[in-house]
Assembly symmetry: C2
Homo-oligomer: 199 residues x 2
Amino acid sequence: MTTGKRTRIPREQAQEIILNAAEELFDQEGIHAVSVDAVVERAGINKMSVYRQFSSKTDLILAYISRKQEAFWTEWNLSLSKHPDQPREQLIQFFRDLAAKASCTDYRGCCFLNVAVEFPDTAHPVRELVTTHQRRIHDALLEMAEALGAAHPSELAYTLRLLMEGTYAESQTYGTDSGAIQMLPAIVEKLIDTSIAIR
Amino acid sequence: MTTGKRTRIPREQAQEIILNAAEELFDQEGIHAVSVDAVVERAGINKMSVYRQFSSKTDLILAYISRKQEAFWTEWNLSLSKHPDQPREQLIQFFRDLAAKASCTDYRGCCFLNVAVEFPDTAHPVRELVTTHQRRIHDALLEMAEALGAAHPSELAYTLRLLMEGTYAESQTYGTDSGAIQMLPAIVEKLIDTSIAIR
DNA sequence: TACATTTGTTACTAACTAGTAACAAACCTT
DNA sequence: AAGGTTTGTTACTAGTTAGTAACAAATGTA
């Protein structure tokens, strides 16, 4: 800026800095609302450094979503690792952790839902990432429902999906202390037990 | 346009035309993605005619949301009117109609969710409309849960809320034929009956 | 017919957008 | 030290955005 000396930042490091800045801004303010210049300023990095790494804003958004995808499965595995080989406890734990996250005041919802809303055109490249991610979530929930010994695994998986997406949506529309979100773990626990009992 | 003759449109009529055009575009493409000029073009009306009725784009958005609010309760009442004085049937009917709507290929989700996502700043005027609308929905669901004779009306209301919001979210992320949405009426029916049986 | 009001039209401002060209400075390898 | 590569800086393009000023044409009213 004002200094005569230039500070050079190598590629890999710059990419991290840019993606961190983009993530913060996209999460907080939305994607369309954040300009590339805003990301540049937040990252404290030069504009050309962005366009030398990401060919376009869309490219940057794709990288942002890919990162979020990885982060989701990291958290998923973290929840599951708390109760090895206990699918019922694992699933409840995941929803407990989800509720805790969605109750944070700075929580800005599920990035995949947000992206889907901000990019209504399903042919847009960013939507492909959303679609594959959702499919994987469904597969994971179905797998858990089967491992649980649910009477109707598919129905349980669908219901869990609705509750999960509902939590993401509520965190936006009702706010982070929606009441329903606090009750989520209990609701899921009861649902699972009912689903097993009917067997 | 090309005609020499000018066609004059009175205020009230113009307002309707503008709001119809805005609704179509906002629903289909999102709010930030639609410019005032795009609304003007779609409405086939002059730009000044828009700004003489709505002081700003925000003002137009507020009018759009207000209309959606009215439309929601019209549909709510329509569902309920199919089974007078039968709260269980009324509630199931509402979710049946919701699922049918959310299964349409051109369905673009719940406008209130979309607005919440597109306007993360809860202090923004449009968010007030969303907040009051969500509160009313909760009150209505709670009232129904009590009329049903649920063992724990509040818990049932919260769960129904999550399923409802989940449906809206799924219609975006999973698409209109998500599987879960088709199963929604059955899920709600079972949930209600379980909720009464425990009594 | 005369006048006030409403509406349509054109042209504009000022700010912001994504993306790029050209060059200067730093670094790395030899 | 020499030359190539990577990075920083500045300045720019061309398009879009919300919103407005000024005037022309149509309408209503007296």
